[in-house]
Symmetry: C2
Subunit: 436 residues, 2 copies
Amino acid sequence: MNIILLSGGSGKRLWPLSNDIRSKQFIRMLSDGQGGFESMLGRVYRQISEVDSGARITIATGRKQVSLIKNQLGDRVNICVEPCRRDTFPAVCLAASYLRDVEGVKEDEAVVVCPVDPYVDASYFQALKELTEMARSGGANLYLMGIEPTYPSEKYGYIIPASNERVSGVFTFREKPDVAAARAYIAQGALWNGGVFAFRLGYLLRKAHERLDFTDYEDLYARYGEMEKISFDYAVAEREKEIRVLRFGGQWKDLGTWNTFSEAMADEALGRVTLNETCENTHVVNELNIPILCMGCRDMVIAASGDGILISDKEQSSYIKPFVEKIEQQVMYAEKSWGSFTVLDVQEDSLTIKIVLLPGHALHYHSHEHRDEVWTVMSGRGRAVIDGVERKVSPGDVIVMPAGCRHTVAAESELKILEAQLGRDISVEDKQKHEL
Amino acid sequence: MNIILLSGGSGKRLWPLSNDIRSKQFIRMLSDGQGGFESMLGRVYRQISEVDSGARITIATGRKQVSLIKNQLGDRVNICVEPCRRDTFPAVCLAASYLRDVEGVKEDEAVVVCPVDPYVDASYFQALKELTEMARSGGANLYLMGIEPTYPSEKYGYIIPASNERVSGVFTFREKPDVAAARAYIAQGALWNGGVFAFRLGYLLRKAHERLDFTDYEDLYARYGEMEKISFDYAVAEREKEIRVLRFGGQWKDLGTWNTFSEAMADEALGRVTLNETCENTHVVNELNIPILCMGCRDMVIAASGDGILISDKEQSSYIKPFVEKIEQQVMYAEKSWGSFTVLDVQEDSLTIKIVLLPGHALHYHSHEHRDEVWTVMSGRGRAVIDGVERKVSPGDVIVMPAGCRHTVAAESELKILEAQLGRDISVEDKQKHEL
């Protein structure tokens, strides 16, 4: 099975655990069924592998997520990186072109596109397999998954099928109706649009060429900014006559808000948390290294990370986005392909961060124009290169790097470094990369 | 007026803002009436000064609080430090002896003892003045303040007066009754025991000598550990026949729990806090430098500091103590006479702290046996002494101090220093002080 996972998301709705770097699909908080934790991404990857161990998985995403995807899945998946954010149709076109020109997938092979973050069981991936088989057989140009609604949601798109059969034509599409309209659609047999599309690769490439005349993946990548911002639904699905929808009645949850996410959490409390006996239906996630004590909390969700602390009634937690947008907060913690960083202290003219560098990984060789830096090695061993001179580093070593000094470090064992940044104009933009 | 303020408190009930070092009386969160904030200690000091600008104020306290009292009040008060914790009677004896032998107060002068943390207005201090005047006149040996109860509390001691007159004899005392008994006492005209006692200095010193035969303050200080742990009420008040109680009907609040403390807070939200429009009767204090977002919170108190985060229903917040006792957490933030320290990061074999040193202050000259330290100067200027050698320090300077190295630093302007502690056995006990 060729599967394109669309990984986007601004990460506001699960603040403070999600942020501009760590979208909700990367939060490791679901049960992996073996006493451990996994992210939505890790879960979907595991579930696909269980249903089809030979699946070719390509994640279509933006630059910001690459490091984090590699941190969680290593090189087990292809990553097709958009040079800039467009919408789902351009992203699928780029991934389709990547499959043909880089991966050598034939134009008559089937491909299925799927969001990276549905909370589902194996039956969902069986249905994806079925969709790709139908697409390969060529009975229609496009196959969708229609999810049987469990309530008249205002947030989803609806597919009104032509019949009540398991596989049916599509009568029409309806976007985010109000509750009364949603109820009426459901009475007519409407299904939620799950954002799943299966097609033969050649079909999609023809649709892409209708909008931009490119030669191959490299050319499309170079000219990606010229593509119109348009969704796959609007650009393709709603215009296609030869379309079928597969009715899906298995488990399907959208863990897009704290209210739904907390229900899927492995435990009611994660991290250093005490809930007294008067707490009811309350979920707490604590990523800070200080304790949280909850007393008499009812129907609440509480989440604390280096970015902030949310304390919300579960029902209210769906309305978080506008409030989070008003909060100005730099990213305080991020997982990267090479490890992680944590902001420990922010002052007007200094910033202190902790860097954890995984064994075998190194930072880019870089310098800063407007700040001095000091590294204090807290634990682990490695090799630093400072203005071209290599040296070993071990706990207690201190390296002073004035502005302009080129520097990097590679970890032999897990390396923890305290980095003091000093200057009046400290900015993530102030970073010049160099060749070693 | 000679006034002894008793400053104790374990600091569990207002966790996480109070801790072993910072008892509730030091939390700067009350309105100072001028748009700023003050602590209970600062407020009581200000109020006493307003009623009697010449008052001689002596704070009886333990070692742990000295640095913090000096941080808040400087040298404007006397501090009488117990060498070890006993109970209120020994503490008052030590302070009385200090007044005679160090401050030269005569034995026929009156002294009033008062807790450091009542939330009151000027009428309370007028009443203290009246009590000292009555004590000086010598009509009785001991004068108490009886507070008119506002509800049948189970937490207070009750004074049953002999009559309903404003100044009356005492029929008897009752400790922490149940609600029914409290109601019955109140019906009889009972008053709360406010922990205020006025007497002539000689009277109290005679009581002290009945229990320990000491020569002077220095001798009592040296033998303080021999004093029995006994409260002033039990040792003196409940045994004294020549006793009077002054009925006090003015404002008096015990801000001993979050429920009552939050009502006296200057604002419903302090620090980086957003409360959405569905929050009701909720108070939030945020001392962390990350934002807190509250949605749909009702009748709650939320407090976050470097020591932890409390999220509690207001009524439940009175039952915090046993839960806090179970939380093992080192002190993450402390104000000291010389400035403050904040723990930024804790690892198995390292600890990172931020030191803020106020201008004109210096650390003790000290060394550590079992850890190396590295200082990175983040801002400010000063002079360090490292193994006897003095050097200037300014931002970006790094000082490496292996175990055994003697070190100190004095601030010329406010100095912020990042201190990395490295070693397997990092402990606050590992500190050897030296003469410079």
